[in-house]
Symmetry: C2
Subunit: 193 residues, 2 copies
């Protein structure tokens, strides 16, 4: 499925090309989501991981701060979900573990609603807004497991001052899951092995 090992949070080589084509100007939720979806789609086409993409944006300037793709298999790390990578890379590049410190305001855009791990990581990361594409039901429909989350996870985040927006470009995000199934992609679920 993949040709070489990646370090944790290391992007596959093709991802830099996707970023080069990105234009911050006048991007809205849909445009930002399309970037996350493009990352997920390319990740399938390039054979570098699962069908998930994410990005962190500066909410003040609109600037793209970081991107992430699912890299569980090539990085040999079950933490390497797209959201985790995007958050970790943003924190590393900005030199802080808190993306909400010192007047900064960031948002996470993810091609699919976060699993239990990524959801738990969101408040610690300091982001103030989460934008989701495909729903957890969409992920489950192709065999991925979102884990055991609090049923009221959207309200939980909102009660922490984190805005949640769901089903942005959902149909396009879901199409990527079908692309993965058609490509005979691996559904890695450790606990079932």
């Amino acid at each position: 499925m993949h040709s070489h090992h990646l370090d944790t949070w290391e992007l596959p080589a093709w991802a830099l090309e996707v970023v080069e084509e990105w234009d911050d100007a006048e991007a809205d939720d849909e445009a930002r989501m399309q970037l996350a979806i493009d990352l997920a789609s390319c990740n399938i086409a390039e054979g570098t991981g699962g069908p998930f993409g994410a990005a962190v944006f500066d909410r003040v300037s609109g600037r793209l701060v970081s991107i992430g793709v699912n890299a569980v298999v090539p990085s040999n790390c079950s933490h390497a979900h797209a959201e985790m990578m995007a958050l970790a890379r943003a924190q590393r590049d900005l030199g802080t573990y808190d993306l909400g410190t010192a007047g900064m305001e960031h948002e996470l855009v993810t091609s699919c609603e976060p699993c239990a791990m990524c959801l738990g990581a969101v408040p610690w990361s300091g982001v103030r807004r989460v934008v989701c594409g495909a729903t957890d039901d969409d992920a489950r429909a192709i065999g991925f497991d979102e884990g055991d989350r609090a049923p009221d996870w959207q309200e939980s985040l909102q009660s922490r001052g984190i805005e949640v927006v769901t089903s942005v470009c959902r149909a396009a995000a879901r199409d990527v899951f079908q692309q993965y199934v058609d490509a005979d992609g691996s559904i890695y679920n450790s606990r079932e092995s």
Copy 2:
């Protein structure tokens, strides 16, 4: 608080000395927990992070596979909890994202019950057993936030075939929290900033 930057999953230098003194022979849950607690205690004394330690053991041989300490501040990464580091390092060293594959059987020993993120990471990691020291209430008592977890998280893990044992050496684990408070340690809670 810390003297230099750490890469994600990088151990502080002193941690290697703790491992060198470790003896697998005849170790039981209490001895393994004491290692996790020692890591948490040293992490405070050395000023390299929060009061949390963890380790992964091979359940078949009893071998210590990896260790982790909280390194959120020195690594500029909010994912760098002790459990996440121990799991990631075990996966990296063994060359697999699934610690339960190919006949392997591993357990995670952590000085405190996992937060929402680490709890979500457990099933994906492939470990088959989780041993906890201090309780979530103990962590909350000194101001740490465990996040929004499913209230029946122990049952959820067990329903996935992951054994959970809690309150092993709880008093000693809790003492480390008090050590942290006495040392005027930082309680980093991004969402409150």
